[in-house]
């Protein structure tokens, strides 16, 4: 049997605890914060969301809807505010449908339907462009490239020699072609961009 004083004590502790936390919060507020990067967001997305369920395609929601969904998951899945911002950076950077992305200013006109096949070029300029594109698309968020990166997807150091250049080209053009549950976004890459990335990945182990 609980006494009145016992219940009062619990209530007082709850109030005091909340006040204490609010006080710490005021202090923390002045410290500022880091914004989310796409690569960090990809890592958090795969690691945290994948604990309970298959990570959903970024294409499922608009930028604004993802904010609400991410906060729903913040309350349900133990994400911090910083992690939510990182996840949003990833989702909002990758949730544009390829057909819509092609219409954006600066988008490449080349369509991935004209994918090359066969041997991979080793032109240093093409390799360098592929490296830049790989960094821009934050591949390292999910994949190990040159011995660093996330572990959500397979390592890419030897992906071209293991799977073949045509597989990698097709995967970059349509990430779900071999796996209906793939969380890899469709970046809407143009054929020449795909070729550059394949050339870069190929250069990591130097050969098909």
């Amino acid at each position: 049997m609980r006494s009145f004083m016992h219940r009062l004590m619990i209530l007082a502790m709850t109030v005091a605890g909340t006040a204490l936390l609010a006080a710490f919060g005021s202090e923390a507020q002045a410290q500022g914060a880091n914004g989310g990067s796409v690569a960090d967001g990809a890592r958090v997305y795969g690691a945290m969301c994948g604990r309970c369920h298959n990570p959903r395609s970024p294409l499922e929601r608009t930028d604004r809807a993802w904010v609400t969904i991410a906060n729903h998951m913040r309350a349900r899945g133990n994400l911090t505010g910083k992690e939510v911002r990182q996840v949003l950076a990833f989702l909002q950077a990758t949730n544009t449908d390829p057909s819509e992305r092609a219409a954006l200013p600066g988008a490449s006109a080349a369509a991935p339907t004209s994918l090359r096949t066969g041997p991979v070029a080793t032109d240093p300029e093409l390799v360098a462009r592929g490296k830049t594109l790989s960094e821009q698309k934050a591949c390292v968020g999910c994949h190990v490239i040159a011995n660093t990166g996330g572990q959500i997807g397979p390592g890419l150091n030897a992906i071209v020699s293991k799977k073949g250049a045509d597989f990698v080209r097709r995967k970059l053009a349509d990430p779900t072609f071999n796996s209906s549950t793939s969380m890899m976004p469709n970046f809407g890459l143009a054929a020449d961009e795909i070729e550059a990335i394949v050339a870069y990945l190929n250069s990591l182990r130097g050969g098909n």
Binding site: R2, G17, R51, T68, H72, N78, T181
Partner: protein, 369 residues
């Protein structure tokens, strides 16, 4: 009975832990979520949820052969960056009747980057299955582990606890020391009540109504230690009086663990409850416990699942009260997309008591939207 002191110590530990977590977190930053057009200016409403259509047929025991359908819409109302009201409803066909339920209706206030306060009716962080894994598109098997009972979980033994949601208040604080994720949850809710107050050994339920059958509140907490995405372990505890007179005590604790690597994952939970019973000679304790363990392996769009659930004999002061039971579940899923799957399963149900076993096939398509 658990003494007042032990409950007080528990409450103090939870309170201090939450404060410590908040004060020492390197992630205790407080920045508005996205800038510019990503900020929600006033209120935004988003509909989410999941639906299921299925079919089950028994091959032994009771003769059941039926289709079923259910939908659980989740409404999310967000005000600016820090306030979210979320509610999940359940509509399920059950024996020709449409059953409705309110799984949760809660207000989340993101006070700090690593502190969230929750009020209303919420899923209790007691174990992991009830709070995070019970949606049909997330649960990899067509039924819930029968020790919890919920979502077409036929089983011989009484569930040890329902999937829990209750009315009250909760604080959740997160710490990120290196690769380890620490989360501490503490909550105060209405608590359990006897399903039938006249029964000698009452089954307990969490009514989740605006009234309370007594003046005592349930105190509970869960400590999560995770190294995502590979490993997580959770320790849960709850305690309250459950009778009208604030005399009979209920204590529950739970240990949950999960490991995943590449396409393989294994998870499980052990649950124990200690419930005081009133008899003329005093207040003996009814001890009930059980566990489930589940392994799943993904190959392409297919995923195989095996789940074992065991409910041990319940004991009243060391004397067997009810026989236990076990269930073996064999499942095969096909994923059409990350949130749409066909799930097929076969349950072998073995009661250790005198009743018949009910083995059955269950199939359903689960859609998370």
């Amino acid at each position: 009975m658990v003494t007042v002191d032990s409950k007080r110590v528990f409450a103090i530990a939870i309170g201090m832990g939450l404060a410590l977590a908040t004060s020492t977190s390197a992630a205790a930053q407080d920045e508005p979520i996205p800038a510019g057009d990503r900020v929600i200016p006033t209120t935004q409403v988003v509909l989410s949820g999941y639906g299921t259509v299925g079919y089950g047929i028994t091959t032994q025991g009771a003769n059941e052969n039926a289709f079923n359908a259910a939908i659980n819409p989740i409404f999310l109302f967000q005000f600016q960056d820090r306030i979210l009201f979320e509610a999940e409803f359940e509509f399920e066909l059950e024996g020709g009747v449409t059953e409705t339920g309110l799984e949760y209706a809660q207000l989340d206030v993101m006070v700090l980057d690593n502190l969230t306060l929750v009020g209303g009716k919420f899923l209790l962080p007691f174990g992991v299955f009830g709070e995070r894994l019970h949606p049909t598109w997330i649960n990899k098997f067509p039924t819930a582990p029968p020790m919890y009972g919920h979502h077409v979980a036929a089983f011989g033994a009484e569930p040890l606890l329902p999937i829990l949601s209750d009315l009250g208040f909760m604080a959740r604080a997160m710490l990120r020391p290196g690769p380890v994720h620490l989360t501490l949850n503490g909550y105060v809710t209405q608590g359990a009540a006897p399903e039938d107050p006249a029964a000698g050994v009452a089954e307990l339920v969490f009514p989740g109504s605006s009234g309370d059958n007594n003046t005592d509140k349930l105190l509970g907490g869960r400590l999560d230690l995770a190294v995502p995405p590979h490993f997580e372990v959770n320790f849960s505890y709850m305690n309250s009086d459950y009778d009208v007179d604030n005399v009979l005590d209920l204590t529950g604790w739970n240990v949950a663990a999960e490991f995943r690597a590449a396409n393989f994952e294994v998870r499980g939970e052990y649950l124990q409850t200690r419930q005081e019973i009133e008899v003329p000679s005093g207040f003996p304790t009814l001890r009930r416990h059980g566990f489930y363990a589940q392994a799943a392996y993904r190959f392409g769009a297919w995923e195989s699942v095996f789940r074992w659930t065991q409910v041990f004999d319940s004991e009243l002061d060391g004397v067997t009260q009810n026989r236990g039971a076990w269930q073996a579940g064999f499942g095969l899923d096909y994923w059409f997309s990350p949130s749409i799957a066909f799930m097929g399963g076969y349950e072998v149900n073995n009661e250790l008591g005198p009743e018949l076993d009910n083995d059955r096939f269950i199939f359903h398509i689960a859609y998370g939207f």
